[in-house]
């Protein structure tokens, strides 16, 4: 693969992607389209962030962030998601080098870390509801569960997608369109980590202080 790409670069003098040299390859167009989707997803989250920022002080006499949030849990969740982003990147790298064994190893690690994140988040939610802090308790809690729950739902669907991609690699091998889907998945996973940076900063660090 590296030999063909060097041979490809050699005869080509026009900067690609600026109208010279014909339309962009599928790989770049697909990544661009998926990037637009991810940005629209981030805009969805910006609405939820705005709602949380406006409503976070309205606890209606119920429990507040200081009483509910645990720094330790938030830190563990953050690290799980961050390392899963790293292993996902290494998985995509193994795919680019056609190493199916490393790909499966790193994506399995990503799945375990992501699943641990979702499990901790669910136990956190169940604990809060048990302590008398369900979403219906106050505007603060409604916006908290909506924001963090939407992120958790995205991670859960990401895990399903991840398992599906591993199965596709087993069934079909590293074909062109399978590779494109894996690249889209890794973009999705990294974007979820970016959203989580906003969540732990705004919700857990600013609200739990």
């Amino acid at each position: 693969m590296s030999i063909t790409s060097i041979a490809d670069i050699a005869p080509h003098h026009v900067a690609p992607g600026r109208g010279g040299g014909g339309p962009a390859p599928t790989r770049i167009v697909v990544a661009y389209g998926f990037w637009i989707f991810l940005l629209s997803d981030i805009i969805l989250f910006s609405g939820l962030f705005a709602a949380y920022a406006v409503l976070s002080s309205n606890s209606a006499g119920g429990p507040t962030g200081q009483e509910l949030f645990s720094f330790k849990t938030a830190f563990i969740e953050t690290m799980l998601l961050l390392v899963s982003s790293y292993t996902c990147g290494l998985g995509a790298l193994s795919m680019e080098r056609d190493r199916a064994d490393f790909f499966h190893l790193f994506f399995a690690l990503t799945f375990v870390l992501g699943a641990a994140f979702v499990a901790i988040e669910i136990s956190e939610f169940v604990g809060m509801i048990g302590e008398g802090a369900p979403p219906s308790r106050s505007a603060f809690l409604s916006s908290f569960f909506t924001l963090v729950g939407t992120h958790g739902t995205h991670v859960t669907f990401g895990l399903i997608w991840l398992g599906y991609m591993m199965a596709q690699v087993v069934a079909k091998g590293f074909r062109g369109h399978v590779k494109q889907r894996i690249l889209c998945f890794s973009l999705f996973w990294h974007a979820l980590d970016i959203v989580w940076v906003g969540v732990f900063t705004l919700v857990y660090l600013m609200g739990g202080r």
Partner: protein
């Protein structure tokens, strides 16, 4: 796999490079190290009195933006290459919309809150 690779080669648009290498192991590792350092800094700043009290939210926002930048560059490979021009423009537009939604909402709701008539039961919505 070999046959598939050849197919893929013939499939591509003329005049365009095939499979531009964007990252290696060290890109991701450097990104992870930077992100972990920034995360730990965020938690330390929030937990201790390292920063002047009222300045802590500003410090946290700065650290969050730094970490988002690290993620974009090291994990999503946002670069300055010609392939990335469209992605960067889309990102700039997305950031503009996010900025308008978040600051606009907070600004308007703060104003409404400040101009609210005092109510006899502030918690009357229970």
């Amino acid at each position: 796999m070999d046959g598939d690779d050849i197919l893929h080669l013939h499939d591509r648009t003329p005049g365009v490079r095939h499979g531009e290498a964007t990252a290696d192991f060290w890109t991701y590792t450097a990104g992870l190290v930077f992100a972990v350092v920034l995360t730990i800094m965020s938690f330390v700043v929030a937990k201790t009195s390292l920063l002047w009290g009222p300045g802590i939210p500003v410090g946290l926002i700065v650290l969050a933006f730094a970490q988002i930048g690290v993620h974009l560059v090291f994990f999503l490979h946002m670069g300055t290459g010609p392939d990335h021009t469209n992605n960067i423009v889309a990102l700039a537009f997305g950031m503009l919309i996010c900025f308008l939604v978040i600051t606009g909402s907070i600004w308007i709701m703060m104003n409404l809150h400040a101009n609210m008539m005092p109510m006899p039961h502030p918690m009357g919505l229970r």
